[in-house]
């Protein structure tokens, strides 16, 4: 009996211990999660409460000093570059390990390992686009051409891994605890993969949609609705620019024909609307202090932990500060003692699709001119949590991978398209940033940019010697007009990209007469640029506002530039609302509150301030009107891209009676006027419903700016209803989910006068007080002082750590 009762109780004890240490379905093991000494409770401790004055970091050649300022921004002082990047890797991992790892797992198509089958389709598409393939080629390129950069990347990886190895169970970031997995080794490959991932976030194409539209609308209507040049184009490079190079001749080969299939499959996911950025620099002639000022605010999806991590990196050779990407080396948007630079997206149809004709079902060979070329097969092995591994075979041609085929979303079994993309070309973007970090002048900046392939960026520049510059850098295929706008025939070699535009013929400008340079994702150049330039996503409003303001401004100060970055002027509304009100006329449709809404619009000054109601009224009204105009196109039954708001507005103003507004399937004839009235009614209806449900329809409440955790299901780690103005297409581009992910303003002089902020915090730990402490500052349009710090400057220092 004694034996029995002992064994019985021991059995219960062991069973209990085992039961709560194992996952139950999707629920993580409960004991390790709740154990106060190892579980999530440990993640409540903020970084300053566990500050260490000394940390052993084997492999450093000399001690490295790290001074954290009051917002946990590390200032790293190393004796040489190799130590510097090892320390950067270690310190970044200390604050952002989970995010770094999660993003690279997403980029590698490995999310299924963590979350199971639900992510399998996403992983497959990521891999079939060839991001991993591109990163492998990037690594090969470094091995063959740039040992120095590779060595630095290895030092960085070493630093990250040193942190992973010393990580105690209690300190493990809370997301690992909830999702029940562990970090794995960091490698140089992951750093390159992260940079490829940025391309994926920023680059889209509409080849499929344009192919369908050409078939449905015909070439003439296509040109009318999607003109290559808008009427009042204000391109990135000033219109007056004279191109002083001999262009390489290129002509559309005679007799080439596009494949004329009707394509019914789903297009690849595109970059979210509202992803874009502003940057500009004003020369000393326009500023109060006679010094150039540079500003940059990249707009990306607003996430926590923030995409950016602020840092100062210092060696005896250089001292640089600004925003880094956790996982990549150096500073991406920032400044040093001599120069400042910033980036905005400059995509230019970098992805093209080629229809592949296979010889037979084995897909071993495809037609290319008169020959049959061999394919290669890449087997993607996807580990799936709780399931067997999934094997996906991807066929590669010399163009690139076949993304859709009979194995994947093959609605039409006979079509196969290869993706040609600059991401699949060996390149060295990391080198660009490492070189920019220590650039001293315009020449250094230009040399640094020569290494940059993708995603193409507008690089703004200013130096303390007084130069301001802009260069649009990427690897751009030299295309004949409309090459790559539609799907192309991969069996016709004349359809292929023949060569690339040389770097020194990429659009650029130095110290233009107007006294400023600026970019806001608009068209890069006007029609005098000798090469074909096309993309569907060029923006029309922010550049009007920014350039308009910069032209009229004089005696500019840093404060003026802060105001411009936070400018809430709703340019789009100012261009169309007067016409909409005129077309609406006196016959205001009846409906609850309709007179109130109308008055709000009539009295509006076009500023999208958070407490204003008119922006909400306008936003819904415009949305309804746009949908009414183009909803007839939904009946095409294939993927198309609708004309953008800019073109739609032009049509409303110029030809309100035009055929384009008529819906042929109805008996009456629609015009702009009838659609404006109808959409007003729909707006009144929807807004009343909103008021009934939510109450306050002030702009901030309506647009609900949310900084979302990278795992959207972890709702309580997100910050919603941030009280701030702006919106999509506004200089302060803060909409619901996108906006200024980093704001920086630098006045160059004897020493730079710098200001910066981002909507998040330095810590990636949701339990830390540094997780989102910068968010209120950002929402108010305020900035942190971002001046360079000397190692002996201990003013406002949170704590110091020596790595040795």
């Amino acid at each position: 009996m004694k034996y029995f009762s002992f064994l019985f109780v021991l059995g219960i004890t062991i069973a209990l211990a085992i039961y709560i240490s194992r996952p139950i379905g999707p629920i993580p093991p409960i004991a390790p999660l709740l154990d106060p000494n190892h579980g999530f409770w440990q993640n409540m401790i903020s970084e300053d409460e566990k500050a260490e004055s000394e940390i052993s970091l084997p492999g450093l050649s000399a001690p490295v000093q790290v001074n954290y300022d009051e917002h946990l921004i590390p200032h790293i002082f190393a004796q040489n570059a190799k130590d510097l990047y090892q320390a950067q890797g270690y310190i970044t991992a200390k604050h952002r390990l989970w995010q770094m790892e999660f993003q690279t797992r997403a980029a590698a198509g490995r999310l299924s390992e963590i979350v199971g089958e639900i992510a399998l389709d996403l992983d497959r598409i990521t891999r079939r686009k060839g991001l991993g393939y591109g990163a492998e080629l990037g690594l090969d390129y470094l091995k063959a051409n740039d040992q120095e950069t590779l060595e630095y990347i290895e030092s960085y990886s070493k630093g990250v891994n040193q942190y992973i190895h010393e990580l105690s169970p209690g300190e493990l970031p809370v997301e690992y605890k909830i999702l029940n997995y562990r970090p794995e080794e960091w490698t140089p490959y992951k750093t390159l993969l992260l940079l490829k991932y940025m391309s994926d976030m920023l680059v889209g194409d509409r080849d499929l949609e344009y192919t369908n539209l050409r078939k449905i609308l015909g070439a003439e209507m296509l040109d009318k609705l999607y003109p290559d040049f808008s009427e009042e184009s204000d391109p990135v490079i000033e219109k007056e620019k004279v191109w002083d190079f001999e262009p390489i001749p290129i002509e559309k080969p005679e007799g080439v024909a596009y494949p004329n299939d009707s394509l019914v499959f789903e297009p690849l996911p595109q970059p979210a609307e509202g992803i874009g950025s502003n940057n500009w620099a004003v020369s000393g002639t326009k500023t109060k202090n006679g010094r150039p000022i540079l500003a940059n605010d990249p707009h990306l999806s607003l996430n926590l932990p923030s995409l950016w991590y602020a840092l100062q990196l210092t060696t005896p050779e250089f001292s640089v500060k600004g925003a880094s990407l956790p996982g990549a080396l150096g500073i991406i948007s920032g400044f040093n003692e001599n120069v400042a630079w910033g980036v905005t997206n400059a995509t230019k149809d970098a992805r093209d699709w080629y229809k592949i004709t296979f010889r037979d079902g084995s897909r071993n060979a495809y037609k290319y001119g008169d020959e049959w070329r061999k394919t290669t097969f890449r087997i993607e092995e996807i580990k799936v949590k709780g399931k067997e591994d999934f094997l996906d075979t991807v066929v590669y041609t010399h163009y690139g991978p076949i993304v859709y085929d009979r194995n994947f979303r093959g609605d039409r079994q006979d079509v196969n398209f290869a993706l040609k993309w600059t991401v699949h070309m060996g390149s060295n973007e990391q080198k660009t940033f490492l070189s920019l970090n220590k650039a001293k002048n315009h020449q250094d900046y230009n040399q640094a940019l020569d290494h940059f392939t993708a995603p193409a960026q507008n690089f703004v520049f200013a130096s303390n010697s007084g130069d301001i510059a802009m260069r649009i850098q990427g690897k751009f295929a030299l295309k004949w007009p409309e090459q790559g706008k539609f799907f192309m025939d991969g069996s016709d070699p004349r359809m292929e990209w023949q060569q690339f535009i040389p770097n020194n013929q990429n659009p650029s400008t130095l110290n233009p007469e107007r006294g400023f340079v600026s970019s806001a994702n608009q068209r890069p150049v006007n029609s005098t640029y000798p090469y074909y330039v096309f993309d569907n996503s060029y923006e029309h409003y922010r550049n009007h506002r920014i350039n308009g303001r910069l032209r009229e401004m004089d005696q500019i100060t840093v404060e003026d530039m802060k105001e411009l970055q936070f400018d809430d002027y709703y340019q789009q509304a100012s261009e169309i609302l007067p016409t909409m009100l005129k077309l609406l006329g006196d016959q205001v449709p009846e409906g609850k509150n309709s007179q109130t809404f109308l008055k709000q619009l009539q009295n509006w000054d076009y500023y999208a301030e958070p407490n204003q109601k008119a922006p909400t009224v306008y936003h819904i009204w415009w949305d309804k009107l746009y949908n009414l105009i183009w909803e007839k196109w939904d009946e095409f039954g294939v993927a198309v891209v609708k004309p953008n708001s800019y073109r739609t507005i032009q049509l409303l103003i110029q030809e309100p009676e035009g055929e384009i507004f008529d819906n042929k399937s109805t008996s009456e004839k629609e015009t702009a006027t009838t659609l404006v009235r109808k959409s007003f009614e729909l707006m009144v209806e929807e807004l009343n419903e909103y008021i009934l449900k939510e109450g306050d329809y002030a702009w901030a409440n309506f647009k609900n700016t949310t900084i979302q955790h990278l795992v959207p299901q972890f709702n309580s780690f997100s910050k919603s209803h941030v009280y701030t103005g702006g919106g999509s297409g506004i200089v302060n581009a803060t909409s619901g989910r996108n906006g200024a992910s980093w704001r920086m303003i630098v006045e160059l002089g004897d020493s730079p006068n710098a200001h910066g902020v981002y909507p998040g915090g330095q810590s990636g730990n949701p339990g830390s007080k540094y997780y989102a402490d910068l968010l209120p500052i950002w929402a108010e349009g305020d900035y942190l002082n971002f001046d360079l710090r000397a190692p002996e400057n201990l003013e406002g220092i949170l704590f110091q750590t020596t790595l040795k």
Partner: protein, 123 residues
């Protein structure tokens, strides 16, 4: 008296050993301690439970006060629980069960080893 000593000792083990070892090591130590103390089954059960349970609750309360972090409430939301306080209570309950059964096992183990007196004349 022995009961209070055992409870306090178990709490101290949790506070000083648990940070460096996983909870199952702590369970084994509680079991051994309970063998050494040789209290009756139910008393051991209670001492182990209270020692570990209160220590865990105490630690969560201490961390909450010290850091002021709202993480417990956020975690509660993700886990579908009502609040951080509730998670604190659950943590205490789990600590109680682990401590209690470990100590109970230890007590029964000692009883099992205790040899039956064999020098008694059973006529």
């Amino acid at each position: 008296m022995k009961f209070i000593s055992l409870t306090i000792l178990i709490a101290l083990i949790v506070v000083f050993v648990n940070p460096f070892f996983p909870y199952w090591i702590v369970m084994i130590l509680i079991g051994i301690l309970s063998v050494a103390f040789g209290l009756k089954g139910f008393v051991s059960f209670l001492a182990g439970g209270l020692g570990m349970g209160l220590a865990w609750v105490g630690q969560t309360v201490y961390l909450s006060f010290m850091t002021g972090s709202s993480l417990p409430d956020q975690m509660a939301e993700i886990m579908g629980a009502s609040s951080g306080v509730f998670l604190s209570a659950i943590t205490g309950l789990i600590g109680f069960l682990l401590g209690a059964f470990s100590a109970y096992s230890g007590s029964l183990f000692r009883r099992m080893l205790k040899k039956r007196p064999d020098n008694i004349y059973r006529g």
